[in-house]
Symmetry: C2
Subunit: 160 residues, 2 copies
Amino acid sequence: MDGNTDNKEKEIKALLKGKKIRPSIIRVKVLKYLLDNRNHPTADRLFSALENDIPTLSRTSIYNTLKTFLDEGVVSEITIEDGNSRYDAFTGKHGHFICEKCGGVSDFDVKCATCAPESLNGYKINQEHVYLRGLCPNCIKSGGDGNEKNFRKKRCKKSS
Amino acid sequence: MDGNTDNKEKEIKALLKGKKIRPSIIRVKVLKYLLDNRNHPTADRLFSALENDIPTLSRTSIYNTLKTFLDEGVVSEITIEDGNSRYDAFTGKHGHFICEKCGGVSDFDVKCATCAPESLNGYKINQEHVYLRGLCPNCIKSGGDGNEKNFRKKRCKKSS
DNA sequence: TCCAATTTTGTAATAATTACAATTTTGTAA
DNA sequence: TTACAAAATTGTAATTATTACAAAATTGGA
Ligand SMILES: [Mn+2]
Ligand SMILES: [Mn+2]
Ligand SMILES: [Zn+2]
Ligand SMILES: [Zn+2]
């Protein structure tokens, strides 16, 4: 609990207040986790990461918090793989890469300012997502030749 | 059952054989549906569309078929919204737009040949997806002002 | 302090997908 | 054609992420 941590918490609270979200303990901790860890966690990963810190935490609260954040545009939802939404508090435009072997999701800068063509001028575009799937350097090194069959996610059982 | 239909079926069977997939009745009908209807159906929509035609059809067979197609690259999976995978047999590079009001998914041509930057040169990229979310012209006309809160999919009950 | 509004929690319900074993269908060799 | 193994299909049950909902706890201001 040094001054630095204190400062960051103040910033987070201010950020939430700016969006008319009451900065409850859970909300602050969820947002802090997302800002500190750019690992695009699932709701369940968030729960696991915070349950020690907040012993009374429930999964529903994580979902509630994320829904609030989504509604106010504090986080965005990444549906890069089916069956597991991931969440991102970094709001600058960027794309997401998922490794089909280790499942890790990382950021990258998309080349183009927008991928939407003029043919969509009758549409209102609210969000733009660019997702890549493939193999990360680590997994290439450790044996993957990159020619495996399409990765099929197994439903990933909650870790314990 | 005109000659045209016959012809198309032959093409589909040839396509499957070329991928070493035995062209069973279900597989041919699923692929035919996907080629005839570019509506990016969910597994359940496919089931509903074909169950009259194949009275003994089971949902598991739809899933089995789609998994086979995915493994051989005959279709691609669209995870533009969480909780409902959609499938596309059109393999040319294109992006997908989902209307947050009516849920319709449509194709568009992405501007850029690739959105992947040079910074990913240590990665092997197998797939590239561009997803847009917003409002389609129809839904804009019929009242949506485009400033609604983020669309949150409700789990969409199987249409009876 | 007190109270209404908000947040959090626990539990049950929902629904997409998968696991799996039984049944049916199919290709082919005899 | 017949027989049989391999492949495909089916039905059912299990899994699991998410949502619904009502009760309990917390909170901010009067
Ligand atoms: Mn990100
Ligand atoms: Mn498409
Ligand atoms: Zn990896
Ligand atoms: Zn629409």
